[in-house]
């Protein structure tokens, strides 16, 4: 059971502040409130992966997913992020929404694997950089880190075009991966080089069961 209805959750998430000046190199696309609400609600309602759990948010940005998890009862959530501007907004969002159990840490996510964070979290969630611009394969490196940090489940978004590859890698890692939903991910014209006003891309919402790893 989820302690909030999806509609209510989405209403709250619409109040979450975004990047003031998104950075292209870091692929800072905000996670839309509707998608964040659908994702976090699914994690709790279908799999009981949020309420009372220890949750990590890799590349947390301004905290859309972390805050969704906290609103659904995550006991403790740690957001990891490289960018200080994003983290300052993250922190302010958490304070404004009066969520005591959320911490932000400025760090390179790729440095977390093999540290004391290994196998600490029940659930790891992320909307990783898709790795399409200057950092090819970045989403897979985030996913690899997520699988090391989680003991229960990892949730992530990846471009639908990479589905077969991710299924194969997931098997290699010994995780049971499933596509929960196909999303039309609307990226607003955040950056000047986008010619259209907004552009939909096809994205898969994945759940990886890592409890056997």
């Amino acid at each position: 059971m989820a302690r909030l209805k999806m509609k209510k959750l989405e209403e709250y998430l619409q109040c979450v502040d975004h990047f003031e000046q998104p950075k292209i190199l870091l692929e800072q696309y905000p996670t839309p409130p509707h998608i964040a609400a659908c994702m976090t609600h699914h994690m709790q309602a279908q799999h009981d992966d949020i309420d009372g759990k220890f949750v990590a948010d890799l590349g947390c940005g301004c905290g859309m997913l972390s805050i969704g998890a906290a609103l659904l009862g995550a006991q403790l959530t740690v957001g990891f992020e490289l960018d200080d501007a994003a983290l300052n907004i993250y922190r302010q969002n958490v304070i404004d929404m009066e969520l005591p159990g959320v911490d932000g840490v400025r760090v390179n996510v790729l440095h977390l694997a093999g540290s004391k964070w290994d196998n600490v979290f029940d659930t790891v969630l992320m909307n990783p950089p898709f790795g399409t611009k200057h950092n090819a394969g970045m989403d897979m490196r985030f996913l690899d880190v997520g699988m090391r940090l989680a003991t229960g489940a990892v949730y992530s978004l990846h471009k639908t075009s990479t589905r077969t590859y991710i299924q194969k890698k997931s098997k290699e890692w010994g995780a049971r991966g499933n596509v929960v939903a196909e999303l039309r991910y609307n990226i607003d014209a955040s950056y000047k080089f986008h010619k259209q006003k907004s552009k939909d891309i096809e994205v898969d919402f994945w759940r990886f069961d890592v409890s056997d790893l």
Binding site: G52, F54, L76, K116
Partner: protein, 124 residues
């Protein structure tokens, strides 16, 4: 930054550092935030925590009288200690301070509640 988070932070990503733990914590400004007490959560978290760093954090936060220096057995039966651990780990919010690598002396600042563990390229 909560002291639960502190318990997992290391400087081991620095080139040449072997353990990088525990980081030497200094608190110059802190706040107390109330949060829901969940004894089951603490019991599940305890095996993942390093008790010496829990006790070290308690000393820095001036709560050492609440926390035994060595981890007692059967903590789950001790409601009072669980509540004190809850307060120490989840309700103390470090706003300003720093953590120092025990091997290199490298300082990781905590600013506006956010620890900065980011390393320069020449450090990794």
């Amino acid at each position: 930054m909560k002291l639960s988070t502190y318990n997992f932070l290391t400087s081991m990503a620095i080139k040449g550092v072997k353990v990088g733990y525990p980081l030497k914590l200094t608190i110059s400004k802190k706040d107390v935030v109330e949060s829901e007490f969940n004894p089951v959560f603490i019991e599940r978290l305890l095996p993942k925590l390093d008790w010496s760093a829990v006790y070290g954090a308690a000393q820095v936060a001036e709560l050492a009288e609440d926390i035994p220096a060595t981890q007692p057995e059967n903590i789950s039966d001790d409601e009072q200690l669980l509540q004190r651990l809850h307060h120490l780990l989840f309700e103390i919010d470090v706003l300003e301070g720093q953590m120092e690598c025990p091997e290199t002396g490298r300082i990781f600042p905590i600013t506006d509640g956010i620890p900065n563990m980011l390393l320069n390229e020449d450090e990794v």
